[in-house]
């Protein structure tokens, strides 16, 4: 009865509403699952190293380390989440981080002081992202190919500029971003938090965000609805590049240096974090909170392995297993897999 009145009174609302509500309910459920996983990891820590995880001061210091180490990859993952929701992929993020970190720590750049270093990192990241975007949207290259080419080329350019040597950063302001703290929290963690909040607002509270989801869901329909798909795609890759520039500054601060070896395999780590956070490789689906938890889970696992003095090989196996498990669980929740024991996950779902 009520349904029929709603349909007649507010047609567009009613068409959109159920789908949207279901989507947000699903994403809340997924985020809760991820939070539970993170909590479980902390419990593992409390059991294996009670001296650290049950002592408030040491726990605080340990978790700040986890957050600091998650900052660079976290910022990149936020950019990657936008690109992936928009139906693309960016394999060049690790190489762009390396390039930006090298470019902003050359002797010439450092001679311009702190503005020079920050400008160079952000401009190089964004510039390379724009090149990616132009190739993909106007050059009609497949994202996988265009960003793969950028990955190889940017890493090469980083090697060329640095002569494959580590460039020590002597601009104190940048180094202090990692060692300095505000209210007991390192600046780089604050930067990470700001990027997460801005990313969340951009995705959930602006037309830019809704257009991103629309394009990722169905690019042709988005185009017919009047969205400038090409320009938007360009903006997405530029955004990812900008995130690489920010992450480069974080890495330069953390390591007090720029190096062409920075950001090795970050593209895979960022994609993995986005995926366990519920971002679909096919586009149109994903959340900032999910990606945030994805990054934190990997960072917490790395921390757990080190505090327990365990070898890193095993950690890779665990990370691989977690990716597979996360995607399988999502498949179950989405109802794409039919396992009788998990029938409850599809309760209330009407066949379409």
């Amino acid at each position: 009865m009520t349904v029929s009145t709603r349909v007649t009174t507010a047609e567009p609302e009613a068409v959109r509403e159920p789908g949207r509500r279901m989507l947000s309910l699903e994403s809340v459920k997924r985020t809760a699952t991820l939070a539970a996983v993170l909590l479980a990891l902390l419990v593992v820590g409390a059991v294996t190293r009670p001296d650290i995880f049950l002592d408030p001061a040491k726990l605080w210091s340990n978790e700040l380390t986890v957050l600091s180490l998650a900052s660079a990859i976290g910022v990149i993952t936020i950019g990657m989440t936008f690109v992936m929701i928009g139906g693309g992929i960016d394999l060049s993020v690790g190489a762009l981080l390396a390039l930006a970190s090298v470019w902003c720590t050359t002797v010439a750049t450092q001679s311009f002081g702190v503005t020079g270093v920050i400008f160079a990192a952000l401009a190089v990241g964004t510039g390379a992202g724009i090149v990616n975007g132009l190739l993909i949207s106007y050059g009609r290259l497949v994202p996988f190919i265009a960003t793969l080419a950028m990955m190889v080329a940017a890493r090469g350019l980083a090697q060329k500029i640095s002569g494959s040597q580590t460039q020590i950063n002597r601009v104190a302001f940048v180094n202090d971003l990692a060692s300095g703290k505000v209210l007991g929290i390192p600046y780089i963690v604050v930067i990470f938090a700001v990027v997460v909040v801005l990313g969340w607002i951009l995705l959930n509270r602006t037309t830019f965000g809704r257009r991103t989801v629309a394009i990722g869901g169905n690019a042709e329909a988005a185009r017919l609805a009047g969205i400038n798909v090409k320009r938007h795609t360009l903006a997405l890759y530029a955004l990812s590049g900008l995130c690489c520039g920010i992450a480069a500054l974080i890495v330069v601060a953390q390591t007090t240096s720029g190096s062409n070896t920075n950001g090795d395999l970050y593209e895979l780590n960022a994609i993995a974090a986005a995926i366990i956070g519920g971002t679909a490789l096919t586009g149109g689906r994903g959340t900032i909170m999910g990606s945030l938890f994805g990054v934190l889970i990997f960072s917490q696992i790395a921390n757990l392995f080190t505090v327990n003095n365990l070898p890193t090989e095993t950690q890779r196996i665990v990370n691989g297993a977690i990716i597979v498990c996360a995607v399988l669980v999502q498949q179950l929740q989405m109802g794409r897999l039919r396992v009788p024991a998990f029938a409850w996950t599809r309760r209330g779902r009407t066949p379409t």
């Binding site: 190293r49 001296d51 650290i52 040491k58 210091s61 340990n62 380390t65 600091s68 180490l69 660079a72 470019w103 902003c104 050359t106 002797v107 010439a108 750049t109 311009f112 020079g116 400008f119 160079a120 401009a123 190089v124 510039g127 090697q159 500029i161 640095s162 002569g163 494959s164 040597q165 580590t166 460039q167 020590i168 180094n175 990692a178 060692s179 390192p186 890495v251 953390q254 390591t255 007090t256 240096s257 190096s259 062409n260 070896t261 920075n262 950001g263 090795d264 790395a302 921390n303 080190t306 505090v307 327990n308 003095n309 070898p311 890193t312 090989e313």
Partner: protein, 346 residues
């Protein structure tokens, strides 16, 4: 009108930013760039002999140590008026390097200096060169068959662990409960296993053992990340040995960010940056054990002597030795001035 002006402004500022950025790629420093680790000693061997062509191949540089290897080889060859260096691009992996060496053999150089991607994989092609009458100087990574090379010059990975173990052992002698942390390089490499074994064996002679061990990737960011976690795992540490000064930049950064200074640290390889810290005494880094890329300079000298049919002057034999293993020396504040000229840029 207004949009075209906006575009003009936007385009103009983008161009300007690009131009500004392009000017930012230089790494030229003024004046103090005399950091090549070469040596031409006096005596009869220094006198120019018959002009020889030396082929050279080393893996593509991706970090400071390997970059220093290639730079040193080129600089050393430049010091001899009778040496023509033929450096070939090694490609990205062992098969590519094999192809590069095969084309090098066609050019019939008088000797080849070879730092292989992988000693075992490059043994066959080294054999080809030797069979073609070209003496091969095997640099650092050993071939599977000693007969494939005329002479081998390499660093001492086990010895690095021994030197680091002695330095730490002497300082912590008698404290059986001491917390000793080890920050290794890439764990799957044989050289990492050798270093760790030398370290553990030597510590054992002092009644000490490694209590915390982590492995990084020889890169600064991995060094920073594993160290940040390591410092959380061990709230109080007595000593740290870090295998590699390249990753050491990140290790020291993590230590400073955590504000920890209750321990002392020993590095590995012997970079300029590490030596500067040892000299200044501004970090827990007290010493580093060398694994010097100067071996590339020495390898060029050995190849020159070999190609000219000479031996090493101070030795009785008429030819250069078959095997040279470099000492892993311990650089401390006391002797850092002597070693600093041999430090490489990480």
């Amino acid at each position: 009108m207004s949009t075209s002006r906006r575009r003009l402004l936007l385009g103009g500022s983008a161009l300007g930013a690009g131009a500004l950025l392009a000017g930012c790629t230089s790494n030229e420093t003024k004046g103090n760039d005399d950091n090549d680790q070469t040596k031409v000693s006096g005596g009869n061997n220094a006198a120019p002999g018959k002009t020889v062509t030396i082929g050279f191949t080393a893996p593509a540089a991706d970090h400071g140590w390997i970059a220093a290897i290639t730079n040193n080889a080129k600089a050393q060859a430049g010091k001899y008026s009778d040496v023509k260096l033929l450096a070939v691009d090694p490609g990205r992996d062992a098969p590519a390097q094999i192809a590069a060496i095969q084309s090098l053999i066609q050019q019939k150089p008088d000797a080849i200096v070879m730092l292989p991607y992988d000693g075992a994989q490059l043994t066959a092609v080294a054999r080809q060169a030797t069979d073609a009458g070209i003496p091969v100087v095997n640099l650092d990574r050993e071939f599977a068959d000693p007969a494939a090379a005329f002479t081998l010059i390499k660093g001492d990975n086990y010895g690095m662990g021994v030197s680091a173990g002695h330095y730490i052992g002497r300082k912590l002698k008698g404290r059986s409960g001491a917390v000793i942390a080890e920050i290794a390089g890439i764990d799957t490499l044989q050289l990492t296993k050798d270093r760790s074994k030398g370290f553990a064996d030597t510590l054992a002679t002092y009644g000490l053992r490694v209590t915390n061990r982590v492995a990084a990737q020889f890169t600064v960011d991995s060094g920073q990340a594993v160290t940040a976690n390591l410092l959380q795992a061990a709230p109080k540490i007595d000593a740290i040995w870090n295998h590699d000064d390249d990753q050491g930049v990140g290790v020291l950064a993590a230590i400073r960010q955590a504000g920890r200074k209750e321990f002392f640290m020993v590095g590995g390889a012997g970079s300029l940056d590490a030596m500067d810290h040892i000299k200044a005494g501004d970090s827990p880094l007290e010493a580093t054990v060398t694994y010097p890329p100067t071996m590339a300079s020495s390898a060029i000298s050995l190849a020159r002597l070999t190609a000219q049919g000479k031996g090493m002057e101070d030795l009785v034999e008429l030819q250069v030795p078959k095997l040279i293993v470099l000492q892993s020396e311990t650089v401390t504040k006391e002797n850092v001035e002597r070693y600093r000229p041999l430090g490489f840029k990480s």
